[in-house]
């Protein structure tokens, strides 16, 4: 199944995140939003796993669960063989330096009342025994690494542009030398020209520090460029996972095919020739997913069994997994 020499840095098994819904006078639990409903994947050291899917499919929730920013409902998340899902508060805090996150909204994710220098150095105060001089040296080093001028350390986040703020967020995430970083749509809030800069920066840093990324995005072309393997998510579940090239050229799951056919083509002359698969209807509510396959209500190729049995998550090629009844 896997190459024996490679051991995964992160091993996620059957991860579930259900948010309870309370209704009525006595606040009785009447159901749950199944934002993430049993996903399993591995991430190997030094690689980038892209996680794609449409809005509301649970990709950000999955990313936050992996770092246990939420209390997960079920499943295990092993980072370096230690199950994060079961760590207590103190052990979890001690583990935090190894795993960090880059957030989507660079403005909102930085405390408006703290200077850039104190935002970057705060994790150092908490987790490292460093003198003030060492700390400020480390802040300078990090600001150099992400391409921010050192003299900006005394400024406040609102004084920067979106791209610069995202660099601050990256510097902050790097402060404790993490092994693993979840990038939660880090480029979604940026201009296209700035997106390229930030993505290149992420790539450079990966090479320099040997980082492992979980890259969450809805930008399929960016993920193709950045990720070595890609996972596709739909309504809280993984539908397909495979090496980037395989997935983009020979997608097996009907949802992945539909998603890829929606990528705009840069050449208008060729753009007309693309055979777009238009999905009908809306995404079902994650609090009330359909019986059988989650995708059966919108799948253009759905057959009877899709409405009855949930498809199994299985290997369909080298490093290639999918969950669909149609794939033999």
């Amino acid at each position: 199944m896997f190459d024996d020499k490679k051991t995964p840095l992160l091993r996620v098994r059957n991860l579930k995140m259900h948010f309870p819904i309370y209704r009525g006078l006595m606040k009785k639990q009447v159901g749950a939003v199944k934002a993430v409903d049993g996903i399993s994947f591995d991430i190997f050291e030094g690689e980038t796993l892209g996680l794609v899917g449409e809005s509301g499919c649970g990709k950000s929730t999955a990313g936050r669960c992996v770092l246990r920013l939420y209390e997960v409902t079920d499943g295990s998340i092993e980072l370096d063989g230690q199950n994060i899902a079961e760590l207590s508060g103190k052990e979890l805090r001690a583990k935090r330096p190894e795993m960090q996150m880059i957030f989507q909204d660079p403005q909102a994710s930085l405390n408006p009342r703290m200077t850039v220098g104190s935002i970057i150095s705060e994790p150092l105060v908490e987790h490292r025994k460093m003198t003030k001089v060492e700390r400020s040296a480390r802040v300078d080093e990090l600001m150099d690494a992400v391409g921010l001028a050192r003299r900006y350390a005394d400024r406040y986040p609102h004084e920067f542009s979106g791209g610069q703020r995202q660099r601050i967020g990256i510097a902050r995430a790097l402060a404790l030398n993490p092994k693993f970083i979840v990038c939660d749509e880090p480029i979604a809030a940026l201009d296209v020209s700035i997106q390229a800069q930030v993505v290149n920066l992420l790539e450079d840093l990966q090479e320099k520090y040997g980082l492992t990324y979980l890259f969450i995005s809805h930008d399929l072309s960016m993920v193709r460029h950045l990720a070595s393997r890609v996972a596709v998510m739909y309504l809280g579940k993984l539908v397909e996972l495979g090496p980037s090239e395989t997935l983009y050229t020979a997608a097996q799951h009907p949802y992945t095919q539909a998603l890829l056919s929606a990528v705009p083509h840069p050449d208008p002359a060729k753009a007309g020739n693309i055979n777009r698969i238009i999905l009908e209807g809306d995404v079902p509510s994650p609090s009330n997913p359909p019986q059988g396959c989650n995708f059966c209500t919108r799948c253009p190729r759905a057959i009877d069994i899709c409405h009855q049995d949930e498809p199994e998550w299985r290997q369909i090629g080298e490093d290639h997994f999918a969950a669909c009844h149609l794939i033999e």
């Binding site: 805090r93 996150m101 408006p112 908490e126 609102h158």
Partner: protein, 354 residues
């Protein structure tokens, strides 16, 4: 920021002049008469003479300008003379703003009454804030918990039940129903003449004398302070809770948690500091009310502070007193509005005043 403050201060001058004129107009239109409380046996001609001696026969505009002269020129000059012994002009026979009923300069009356008001009402404000901030923080952090529900209930009571009810209720419970030899008994009348000192009647210093004086002062302040503190805390805790809730759901709080900070640091350093910005301005805007004295509460507990002075002045149609006192409240309100704005700019780096 300094330029902004100075410019705002400059603008307050015409504002305050206009306010003083409007107050004067309203007081002049009010159908009251300084001779109204005098015995009915005094004939109308004599009443007219009394009114003339008070300067009431002059036209309203002349009286306004005379008040302006007394308040804006004579009073500051008199302060310089009494404070630093700097004599400018005729400092012995300067005409100050004088209360009609007491014949004493109004400013002296205010200075006499100020300590009681600041002690009792100011203390209630401080106590109110000290109660409100933790309640607001915990209520927001544990939203919809039993603590939050209880806090909401108590705030609702503090908001909706007027101080003249809670004040009288406390008097009935702690001064009337509880026997006055009990440890829980509290005096219902605030004794202004009480001095906190360690000297006994023989002039010797004893710690026990100091202690009993202190504890008496504490007991007589307890009821008025708690009545007003409940009211203030009810308001401020709601602001605190709303502001905390606003900030708790912000992304930077998640960032702080992802940094691996202790929950205490996340809450007290990140969330609380950001949440205090609007609350501090609300607190600053409420400070003029302290000086205004809680008129009703002072009346109930017989605290002879500024609020009580104002009531007596209004009842006796003591126009110079009421005019001066009301104008000083207006000054405080304008100044503390400015202070609130400046504080906002100092606390929130995103705000720039140009």
């Amino acid at each position: 920021m300094l330029n902004y403050t100075l410019r705002r201060l400059m603008f307050t001058i015409p504002t305050l002049l206009l306010i003083s004129f409007i107050i004067f107009l309203i007081l002049d239109l009010a159908p009251n008469d300084p001779t109204g409380n005098l015995p009915l046996t005094i004939p109308p001609e004599v009443r007219e003479k009394i009114r003339a001696s008070l300067g009431l026969d002059a036209p309203m505009f002349v009286r306004y300008l005379l008040w302006c002269n007394q308040f804006f020129i004579n009073e500051p000059l008199n302060m310089l003379y009494e404070g630093f012994n700097w004599c400018i002009g005729d400092c012995e026979n300067r005409l100050r703003v004088t209360s009609w009923s007491t014949r004493s300069p109004v400013v002296d009356l205010i200075i006499e009454r100020l300590p009681q008001t600041l002690w009792v009402i100011g203390m209630s404000y401080v106590v109110g804030i000290l109660i409100a901030v933790p309640i607001g923080v915990i209520s927001a952090y544990k939203q919809y918990s039993w603590f939050d529900q209880a806090g909401t209930f108590v705030s609702m009571i503090g908001f909706s039940v007027p101080t003249f009810f809670t004040g009288v209720l406390l008097i009935v419970v702690f001064s009337v129903m509880i026997p006055n030899d009990s440890w829980f008994w509290l005096p219902s009348i605030y004794d202004t003449t009480h001095v906190v000192t360690g000297l006994d009647s023989a002039g010797e210093w004893h710690f026990s004398t100091l202690w009993s004086n202190l504890s008496f002062q504490f007991r007589q302040m307890l009821m008025p302070v708690m009545v007003l503190a409940l009211y203030n805390a009810a308001q401020i805790s709601r602001f605190m809770r709303a502001s905390m809730l606003d900030n708790l759901s912000q992304d930077y709080v998640r960032t702080a948690r992802a940094k691996g900070l202790k929950e205490k640091t996340v809450l007290l350093v990140h969330v609380l500091r950001n949440s205090m910005i609007p609350v501090v301005t609300v607190i600053a805007l409420g400070v003029p009310q302290i000086f205004g004295g809680a008129i009703i509460t002072e009346q109930i507990f017989k605290v002879n502070g500024l609020g009580q002075l104002l009531i007596v002045g209004i009842q006796g149609a003591d126009i110079p007193l009421v005019q001066t006192l009301t104008f000083l409240f207006a000054v405080l309100i304008v100044i503390f509005n400015l202070i609130a704005d400046v504080l906002y700019g100092l606390l929130d780096p995103r705000i720039r005043y140009e």
